[in-house]
Symmetry: C2
């Protein structure tokens, strides 16, 4: 039976519904949804692909497929992951119904009620919900601009009374913080993890292709590529940000025994992910549609982030701070401790701007002097005026 | 953590993999896969639909959607379900990633480890796996030609020591038995269920549109339409058999409170089902593609079943019996009690024919003097020769 005890999760649920309704309201400037703008999807590529499909491929697309994934996609995805330096040969690979299902499967396979999971604070709502739905107790460790607070992380790993079973990190262009781990911090994390071989590391990596500048290409490398022990890491990825979320396709590249258990769990969860969408994603990779799409996306998101950061600089009160993303979708704003972002939200929405309040990203659902701004979804010409509304809302609440 | 204790489930997993490999071997005549033949999918309809999509609809198809489902599909599906007499207004409706996910969600929401679930014997592998993965203890009640053995069902419902929490039935063209409940048996089931309002009834109904003869149109009506208390029934359906399994789209029409909990559970399971496929399914319903497709499928499956039944009559030894389906995909074959269908399988596969052995459909994974033949997937011209091989295998094992 699902764990319904966390009022925070229920709150999040209604919160998300409310925000989705707001995001759909064309009169509201929404920085809430962590999603691409509809105008950015590779529709022409999809048209090309659909036209190119043989009758036989279309028929295959309509059929059930193996639970682990459509074999040609496993092949083309492996080639893509190998090209990024990931240890595909030494790992198991399974296609999942979005990265969310990968997190759900890992939770189903590894977690028992009351198990401890270390996450970042702030952390991804969907991951927190997956862990909690299997009864996990979460411990959030603060992020700074270089990654997770390494001393606090070490203390949590070493905690003999509250021994963790799992660590969940999103090192590159984190959701919701927008930050990227420094190389040094990554190495420190890997060194600590090596001392705890019984703790499973989940590396969630949805945004690393979305760096703004080529100079960061060397900094977006996954943890899983940086250690000889990489095959022990559960590396979770997704087509959501490099093709489209509506495809609901993600993957888990992890230890073979865990991936095998995930496959068994997936059989009873949804049997297989959509073959139709897997055929499209396979052709997307094979027909070389990914690289030009990324070349279009990177400067687009860079421009949006730039507009948002300039507006924050221009309008925000002095005692407000925010992160400076070098990729991804998000800026994380921190308010003075005595200000509750729910109050700011209420004031901002009256002015016509929306975002996601901070406690949704707190594993404990408590800390709320912060909020997430997504620049991925908002039309460029509305970003500045929207940020001005949010800044005015903060001033109003601060009085 | 997933329940891995059932060796039967693990066996099934490897069994399914082996059978899928066999079904893919073009030299084997496979009656194993419970799936449409690739040549039967509505590819032209899909082409028409894709061509008809506006840019805006394609963009929506690429985006995340609400967890409960793409609103236009919820609308068109509601209209379809209403036209079949289902109490849509009084129920909650959620789109799921295949009917399998609906079963998984219901299990996650309602079942605790050691809870009892009453199923038919034989019963659907995927449902058994879903219930077991949440730790349920299953009780299989024999089917006869009119439905579940009503006395044994009553006794199981009344069992005070092993009180059931849930009942799972597949009344129309059952997988794997191929049988349909008589109207009388349906009423008896509903009367007994009315005495146990605390037990949740799951009605799985994937095949009811696939009746062979118009005269059965009045007999395929769901239990959920036959009682004033229908809104309490969890009615599970799927696009797999009326559009394509590769779409991974199913639904749960159930009590509003249960559907609401399923929506919360689905948020952390896969966030939403593929919007892309939901857009296609919505247009499929709205553009009137379903009715002509069913008009093509019904005589096709009827013809295949007819060929199979004639071949069984012609080749099977005297002490073997089988069901006579009036719709759906399956024939269920029962052997003398001393014959193990694993032995028959081993002999048949050497001759070049495959099927699924009986214990895969036994909630206890034990009874094995039976097997399932699917006529949905095998090319017509191969059915007779394949059945002859199976019959020879039985004779060989019986010696």
């Amino acid at each position: 039976m699902i764990q319904f005890s966390q009022s925070a999760q229920n709150m999040r649920s209604s919160e998300i519904r409310r925000l989705m309704a707001l995001a759909a309201d064309p009169t509201v400037i929404s920085f809430a949804g962590g999603m691409p703008n509809n105008s950015l999807f590779p529709i022409e590529a999809a048209d090309d692909i659909y036209k190119s499909l043989s009758l036989q491929k279309k028929q295959t697309a309509f059929q059930y497929g193996p639970t682990s994934g459509y074999p040609p996609l496993l092949e083309s995805l492996s080639a893509y992951l190998s090209s990024r330096g990931l240890p595909v040969e030494k790992s198991g690979l399974i296609i999942t119904t979005g990265a969310q299902q990968a997190l759900s499967l890992i939770s189903k396979v590894l977690l028992d009620p009351q198990d401890r999971v270390i996450t970042e604070f702030p952390s991804f709502i969907g991951a927190l919900a997956a862990f909690k739905s299997y009864g996990a107790i979460l411990k959030g460790i603060n992020l700074d601009n270089d990654g997770i607070d390494i001393e606090a992380f070490e203390a949590a790993l070493d905690d003999k009374f509250l021994k963790p079973k799992m660590v969940y990190l999103n090192p590159v262009f984190q959701n919701p913080a927008g930050t990227i781990y420094s190389k040094k911090r990554k190495m420190q994390v890997l060194e600590l993890m090596a001392k705890h071989p019984d703790v499973c590391l989940i590396e969630d990596d949805p945004y690393s292709e979305l760096y703004f500048d080529e100079s960061d290409k060397g900094n977006v490398v996954p943890l899983k590529t940086m250690t000889s022990n990489g095959s022990s890491i559960c590396y979770v990825g997704t087509f959501a940000k490099i093709f489209g979320p509506g495809m609901r396709l993600g993957w888990l590249l992890g230890p073979k025994d865990i991936v095998e258990k995930c496959e068994l769990a997936k059989q009873s969860m949804d049997a297989c992910s959509s073959t139709f969408n897997q055929v499209l994603a396979d052709e997307y990779l094979r027909q070389g549609k990914l690289a030009p799409y990324l070349q279009m996306l990177r400067p687009t998101y860079k421009r949006r982030a730039g507009i948002m950061l300039a507006a924050l600089q221009k309008f925000m009160p002095e005692n407000v701070t925010w992160t400076t993303p070098r990729g991804g979708f998000f800026v994380w704003v921190t308010l003075p401790e005595n200000i509750d972002s729910s109050d700011v939200f209420a004031a901002a929405i009256k002015k016509g701007a929306a975002f996601v309040i901070g406690n949704a990203f707190d594993p404990q659902g408590v800390r709320n002097n912060s909020f997430r701004l997504a620049f991925s979804h908002t039309p460029e010409e509305k970003i500045e005026i929207g940020i001005q509304m949010v800044a005015e809302a903060i001033r109003q609440v601060s009085k």
